[in-house]
Amino acid sequence: MLSSRSIRIWTWLHKWTSLICTLFMLLLCLTGLPLIFHHEIGHLLGDEIEAPELPADKAHLANHRVDADTMIKAALSTHPDRIVQFAGQSDDDERLWWFTLTPTPAPTDDYKSVAVDVRTGELVGQYKVGEGFMDLMFRLHVDLFAGLPGKLFLGFMGLLLLIALVSGVVLYAPFMRKLDFGDVRRGRSTRIKWLDLHNLLGIVTLVWLFVVGATGMINTWADLLVKYWQYAEVGTLIAPYKDQPLVPAAERGPLQQALDNAKAAAPGMKMSFIAFPGTSFSSPHHNTVFMRGDTPLTSKLLKPMLMDARTGALTASPDLPWYLTALLVSQPLHFGDYGGMPMKIIWALLDIASIIVLGSGLYLWLRKPHGARRAASARAATPALEESLDDGKQPETAAA
């Protein structure tokens, strides 16, 4: 049983953590809604690129695979002044590889993304990046157009949400003592009705929202975790290369050789993507080939293979540290993209329920009865609590 003093403290905590993060959480829930279906929406808008049907004279190439170096040439032909930062096979179409082209190996928002056909080595098209409705949703959802500070700010809002959820659970009991689960008192004031709905939807969405909130918060730290990994672990692995400059493109060995070596050294694994020398996921002297497993769980776990950029030989294949493993495993739990279309629809419905919880919470605060914004009297834990109990009787907790 909570004492009236502890109810007051939890109420204060719930109120302020909620109020500070509510508007941002509403924004995240609203922008997250279309992002759940980004794939399907991209398809509808025609933003997706599909591998072309092969013409009759090239039909024999259906199972042919050109080498990676041929594909790089095709990708760079679109923007000869750029370099390749990352490349990999398309998740949706095995016949396509994507290439990310940027001015320098440094992280940047100025990137182009192109698709190359693995059967012919020909350019298929350029993905739309940094434009359109979905990009707006994505930027608002991820960093508010403010880069890393924006991400970290939203991560802090996520932390406040988690505190609001925990304090909400603590307050659930005193509010529900005279009610059965799911009771919504429609016969009383509008405020009471919404209080009951807030408590019902809040307690049912609790686990889902906590998981999505926590994994979202972890996601905001991704850049920092990768930077730390570079500093703490990759740094020691590439100590022999210390003080050597970035390997110039002209001195790099064939990429296909590096890929073949990586595959040979990681039997039973598939390539996820390649990070080129000097980029945020590699070293100045290596093409880092990230391999992944093929079961639902291990496909989320990446194994970095550092391949010497000059020789294509394997330098090291460190295990990912626990914090990057946690990040990779937590990502699907945020996106809801790992259980087919039914899961996406359920994700959207739970998201809408969360919007109602946030909105009703805001309403309950805005429509507080007169005088209730002054400090609650010592006798009543909170005006809302007092009001929520039948006939305005003092809750026993307050009399304790």
Partner: protein, 60 residues
């Protein structure tokens, strides 16, 4: 141990919480039956919310 009062109060929330958790995890570790279970385990809480939100108040 929990009082009967607490048990009455927390039975539903706990059941829904455990169910949701199992659904979130099952799809992560298994692609076929794990997905199917997740649809049930996460879909049921959605139905529970809908049912209690739209049902008419019982006459006291």
């Amino acid at each position: 141990m929990l009082s009967p009062e607490s048990r009455r109060l927390w039975a539903w929330p706990t059941a829904i919480g455990v169910l949701s958790t199992s659904g979130l995890l099952s799809a992560l570790v298994s692609d076929h039956w794990g997905d199917v279970w997740s649809w049930f385990a996460l879909g049921l809480p959605v139905l529970v919310m809908a049912w209690f939100s739209w049902r008419r108040e019982r006459s006291a």
